[in-house]
Symmetry: C2
Subunit: 598 residues, 2 copies
C-alpha cells in the first residue's frame, strides 16, 4: 500500500523506433518477453504497491499470473515450477514481500532450482532522496534487502539505468541458466515503462555459453572409455544435480546402453526409468537389501552423475561411492579418482562419450537380485503402517505423473516407491524446509499441465499426468492455504495427508514424548470446502483410511483412478510409526527413554 | 530433521559449583532464566532438529512453549507479544526456520518491537569442520544467515564459548531493551547444556543503563517550561515510538495536567485515553475535521512524543507538526525547533518536567469542537459501508480490550474508532506486511491474558479483556492457519473478517479492475471447524452480516457481548468501498478509468 498517486499509463508491447533508429521497448515488456523466450508460461507472486504497475505487463505479455496466498508460498511454487519447466519466476514487492519469500529462494539455491526473483521497488526518486517510506525501516536505507538476497542468489541487478537494463536482464537470466540457481532483479516503480533498446530480443539468445574444447579432452575421454571397457563390477549412481546439469537424456542412454546396475540418491530418484531391469531405484546402504549393499561396496567402477553430498541426501554420508573407484560428473568438472579436470561441459562430454562407446566392448553385468515386495502379510483390518504404505499405493502412479513426498516420514517412505517411466519425483534433499512441498506441487503441477512434458508418450488412454503429494499433518499446517490456489487453478492433484498427530520425524530425532512436537488437530477433510471448492464436488473428493482394507477401497475408487481436480485422502498412521533410518533413530529414542525409567 | 543421533542428557536448572567455587548453570537454563527475569512468560516458535535440545529447557524453566504453524507466524506472534508485554521471544531452527521468520523480525525492527530471535544451530564440531549438512547450501558456509540477520537486528551473538556466553546473552538482551528492537542469538546444538558462570543471574540485572545528568539539562528544562507557560495555541502530538520510549505514564500525566488538545498518529492511537475531553484521537489532516486541522496548523507549540515520520504514519507527511513550533522527544534526543540536544533519557526528562511544572502557569486552552457521530442516516436494510462501519461497532470495546486493524481498508477505517481508556490499539504503521496482524494478535492476546495489564481496574464486572481484530479477506489468506493456535490457546478474540473480494487497498492504489488484485473465495465461517474448534461451539461462534440491521443483531448477541474463545464475524462490504485517504485514491482511479473509456 502507498499514499502516492500514480499516473497509470497505457502500455503496449509494440516496439517503437527512437531518433537514432534503434528499436526500443518498455522495460517490463522486455523482461517478460525474455521470460517467455526462456519457456516460462506462468509467473507466481503477490501484488504489493511497489509492483502493481509491473504486474500490469504480465498478462498482456502472454504470461499467466498465478497469485499465491503469500510470498513464501509463491517462492516455493516458482521453485517447483522451475524443477519441471526448467525455469521459474516470482514477483514480489519491496521489503515485506521479498523477505517473506527469501527462505524459498534460499531453498532454490540449495537444491539448484533456477528461480527469477523480480522485486518491484520504490521509484528512483524516492530511493535517491532517501525518503522515509513504508516497507522500509524509515531510515532512508534502501539497499538492505538486496544485500540479504546476495547471500541466496547467484546474480543480482538493480535496474535503474535504461542504457544498461537490457544487458543486465540478459546477463542475470543467463547466470540463472548457467548455475541453475536463483537470481534477483529489482525494478523501480518508475522504470517499468521506461524505453530500453529492444535489439537483443531478436539478435541475442540467452543461453548457457559453450565450453571451449580443451587440450586434454581426448585423453580424458580415452581414460573414461578404457575404464568402462575394463570394469568388472561397475555401477551407475545418479544423483539429483543431473537435472540441473541438463544431462537426463544422456543419463538415460548410458543406463540403457550399458545395462549396468544403476541406483539413485533421494535427490536423483525419478530421474531414471525404474522399470528397467538394471535400475534398482534408491540406494539405501545399511537400510536397504544386503546384496545391493554388497555389490555397491565392492564396485570397481562407479559412474557418478550430478553428485550432491549433503548428509541427508547421502544417509549420513553412507551412500557416497568410494572416490578411488569413481568417475564423477558435476558442475563443469570431471573427477577421476582424486584428479579433478575442470571446465568441461558435462553434457557435451557425455554426448561424445556415448558416440564413442563401442557397445560390444561394454562388459555385460548381472547385478544383485532385486528384493521382492508382496503384501501377503497384510490383512484388510490391519492398521496402515509406514513400512507397507508406500509400496502399497505406488501402483496408482502412471507414466507422466509427478510424485512428491514432503520432508518427514513421507520423504523417507517414498524412497521405496517403484515409479513408472517418465515419472518425476520430488523428495526431501538438503534444504528440507517443511511446508515447501505443497506450494512446490502447485508450481510443478502447473508446469506439468502447461508443458505436457510428462504426459504418456504411447497414449495409455488415461488422460494427462497427475500429481501425487504425500505430506504429513505437521508440514501441511505451514502452507496449507495454497490448497485454495490448487483448487482455483483446477490442477489434477491427489493429496495424501498422513495424519500421525504431529512432527513424527522430530520425535524420532529428539523429544519423542515432548509437547513441542505436537500440533493442533485439524479436520483435514473440510479443507476442500473451506478453501472454496465446489461443495458437492468437495464432498465427493474426500477420502480417509485407517486400515489397509479401507485404503484399498480408496485406491480403487473411480474418483481416484479417473477423477480430476484436487482430491484429498487422509491416512491415519501411528504417532511413532516410521521406517528406514527414521525407525533406527526412533528405536534409539525408545531405548533411551526405557533406560531412564529403570 | 537430521541423521545425527544425539545423546540426550538429563538436565536440571540446579546450579552447581565448579572447582574454583564459581557457581555454574547450563547455558539454556541461563538464557531462559534471563527471559523470565525480563518478564517473558511465553516463547513462540517451531521445532526443528537443531533446536530440539534447546526446546527441552523451555517448559522446565517455567516458560510456556507456544508452537505456531510456521516460523513467520511465530515471529509475528512474538512481535505482538512484545508490544503488549514489553519483550517477546522466538525460537527457530538454523536456515529454514530463521529465514522463514526474517520478514517478521524485519517488521519488529521497523516498528520497534523488542523480539529475541533465538536460533538453534548445528553443533560447533559440524560448523568448525564445515560439514555439508542439511539446512545449509551444502557448501560449508555457516555464517550466511547471521549476516542476513545483521541487517534486521540491533545486536547479534553466536554463543560458541562458555567463558563469554553469559556476558554475550546479557549484552544482547540489553540492546533489545535499549533500542526496543530485535536481537539475534545463535545457540549451537552442543552448547545447550554446557555449564557457564551463573553469577550474573543474581548479581547483575539487565536493564537500560542510566543516562548521566548533562551539563545543559537545567537550561533545556527551563526553556521547555517557559515555552509551555507562554503558549497560546499549544497541542500535544503522541506518536507510536512513545511505547518504545517507555514514557506512557508521563504522556498520560502531561495530557491530563495541561488539558491541552491532544492528537495521535496511527502509530500512537491507543496510547492515550481517548475518553478525555481534550483528546481528539487520530489526527487525519486533510481527511479529518476542518476545525481540528485549522487548530493544528496554527499551533504555536507542539509537544511531540515518540515521532515516527514514515509516509504511511503521516498520511504522506501531511500530519508532521511544523518543526519551528515543535518540541520533540525521540530516542535519546530532545529537539527544540531546529536544535537537537542529544543523550537525554526522555523518561527521566519528562518526569522532571512534570515535577517542575507549575500547574497554575499552564495556559488553559479550549480546543476545536469535536465532530459528532450519529447513525441517523442509516436504516437496517442498508448495506454495510466502510464509512460508518468502524464507529458503528466501536461501542463493543471495553476498558482493557485490545483492538487491532490489519493493513488495508481496516487499518484506515479503524483510525476513527473511539476507544475506551486503557484500550491498546494496533494499526498499520510502516512495515505493513499484510498477514502480520492475525499472528500478532495471537501474541498480543496471550500477553494480555498473562499479564492482566490491560484488565479493567475498576471492576466493570464484565470479565477479562478481549481482543478485537479487523482484517480483510486478502490479508487473512496469508497467515490464516494461526487461527488454530488461537483456538488451542483458548484466547478471547473476536475476529471481524471484512469480505470485499480481494485486495481493495491495492485496487485503490493501482489496478482497480485487474485480476491480480483478486483472490480465491473462501468459506470463512468454516474456519473454526476446519482448524479444530469444538464443532458445536464453532457453529455458535460464527456470525455474518451484510446490512447494518444484521450487524446490529450480531453486536447485541450474547456470544459477542459476553462470550469467550474465538468468535468470527464475516462482514460483507463493497469491492471498491473504502474511506479517508483510500477513497481519494480510489476516486482518482475511477476518474482515470472513465477518461480512458471516453
Amino acid at each position: 500500500m502507498s499514499i502516492n498517486c500514480y499516473q497509470p499509463q497505457q502500455h503496449s508491447a509494440t516496439m517503437t523506433q527512437n531518433s537514432t533508429s534503434e528499436r526500443t521497448i518498455k522495460l517490463a515488456d522486455y523482461l517478460f518477453a525474455r521470460l517467455g523466450q526462456l519457456g516460462i508460461q506462468s509467473v507466481f507472486g503477490v501484488p504489493g504497491d511497489y509492483n502493481l504497475r509491473l504486474l500490469d505487463f504480465v498478462e498482456p505479455s502472454g504470461l499467466n499470473w498465478i497469485g499465491t496466498c503469500n510470498e513464501l508460498n509463491g517462492a516455493y511454487a516458482a521453485d517447483g515450477y522451475a524443477r519441471i519447466n526448467g525455469l521459474g519466476a516470482l514477483i514480489t514487492t519491496f521489503g515485506v514481500g521479498e523477505l517473506s519469500a527469501i527462505n524459498g529462494i534460499a531453498g532454490a539455491y540449495a537444491e539448484k532450482a533456477p528461480v527469477i526473483h523480480i522485486v518491484g521497488t520504490p521509484s528512483r526518486a524516492l530511493q535517491d532522496s532517501r525518503t522515509l517510506v513504508h516497507h522500509t525501516f524509515a531510515d532512508g536505507e534502501y539497499r538492505r534487502f538486496a544485500a540479504m538476497h546476495a547471500q541466496v542468489t547467484v546474480a543480482q541487478a538493480n535496474l535503474i539505468d535504461p542504457r544498461t537494463a537490457a544487458e543486465q536482464i540478459d546477463s542475470t537470466l543467463q547466470q540463472a541458466l548457467i548455475h541453475s540457481r536463483p537470481v534477483y532483479l529489482q525494478v523501480p516503480d518508475d522504470m517499468v515503462d521506461v524505453m530500453i533498446p529492444a535489439s537483443n530480443l531478436e539478435a541475442k539468445k540467452i543461453q548457457v555459453p559453450p565450453t571451449p574444447r580443451l587440450k586434454y579432452e581426448t585423453s580424458i575421454l580415452t581414460t573414461v572409455l578404457e575404464r568402462i571397457y575394463s570394469a568388472q563390477r561397475p555401477l551407475i549412481f545418479v544423483d539429483g544435480e543431473s537435472r540441473a546439469l541438463d544431462i537426463l537424456p544422456q543419463v538415460d542412454e548410458l543406463v540403457k546402453i550399458t545395462g549396468w546396475p544403476t541406483w539413485t540418491s533421494t535427490f536423483g530418484k525419478g530421474l531414471v526409468n525404474e522399470q528397467l531391469d538394471n535400475v534398482y531405484g534408491f540406494y539405501a546402504a545399511n537400510y536397504g537389501s544386503e546384496p545391493e549393499t554388497a555389490y555397491f561396496d565392492s564396485a570397481d567402477l562407479v559412474i557418478v552423475l550430478g553428485p550432491h553430498y549433503s548428509n541427508t541426501n547421502t544417509l549420513g554420508y553412507t551412500t557416497i561411492p568410494k572416490q578411488e573407484v569413481s568417475i564423477s560428473f558435476s558442475g563443469t568438472a570431471i573427477q577421476i579418482g582424486k584428479d579433478t579436470h575442470r571446465d568441461y561441459s558435462i553434457q557435451q562430454f557425455l554426448t561424445q562419450l556415448l558416440e564413442s562407446l563401442d557397445s560390444t566392448r561394454i562388459p555385460k553385468i548381472t547385478g544383485p537380485p532385486k528384493p521382492q515386495v508382496d503384501f501377503n502379510h497384510i490383512t484388510k483390518s490391519d492398521a496402515i503402517t509406514q513400512d507397507d504404505f508406500y509400496r502399497f499405493v505406488d501402483r496408482l502412479f502412471r507414466e507422466g505423473d509427478i510424485v512428491a513426498t514432503e520432508t518427514g516420514t513421507a520423504s523417507y517412505g517414498g524412497r521405496t516407491f517403484r515409479l513408472p517411466p517418465r515419472t518425476r519425483m520430488f523428495g526431501a534433499v538438503t534444504w528440507l524446509s517443511i511446508g515447501y512441498m505443497l506450494p512446490a506441487c502447485l508450481g510443478a503441477a502447473l508446469a506439468q499441465q502447461e508443458t505436457n512434458k510428462y504426459k504418456p508418450v504411447n497414449g495409455t488412454g488415461q488422460g494427462k499426468g497427475r500429481l501425487f503429494l504425500f505430506i504429513g499433518d505437521g508440514s501441511l499446517q505451514m502452507t496449507v492455504q495454497e490448497i485454495s490456489t490448487m483448487i482455483r487453478e483446477k490442477l489434477d492433484i491427489v493429496l495424501f495427508i498422513i495424519n500421525n498427530a504431529g512432527y513424527t520425524i522430530e520425535r524420532a530425532i529428539h523429544g519423542r514424548k515432548q509437547a513441542y512436537n505436537d500440533i493442533a488437530p485439524w479436520r483435514h477433510l473440510q479443507a476442500l470446502s473451506f478453501f472454496g471448492g465446489d461443495e458437492e464436488e468437495a464432498a465427493r473428493n474426500n477420502f480417509s483410511a485407517r486400515t489397509f482394507g479401507e485404503l484399498e477401497e480408496v485406491l480403487q475408487s473411480e474418483r481416484i483412478q479417473q477423477g480430476s481436480g484436487l482430491r484429498i485422502i487422509e491416512v491415519f498412521m501411528g504417532r511413532e510409526d516410521c521406517q528406514g533410518l527414521l525407525r533406527t533413530l526412533m528405536n534409539t529414542q525408545i531405548a533411551q527413554d526405557a533406560q531412564q525409567l529403570r
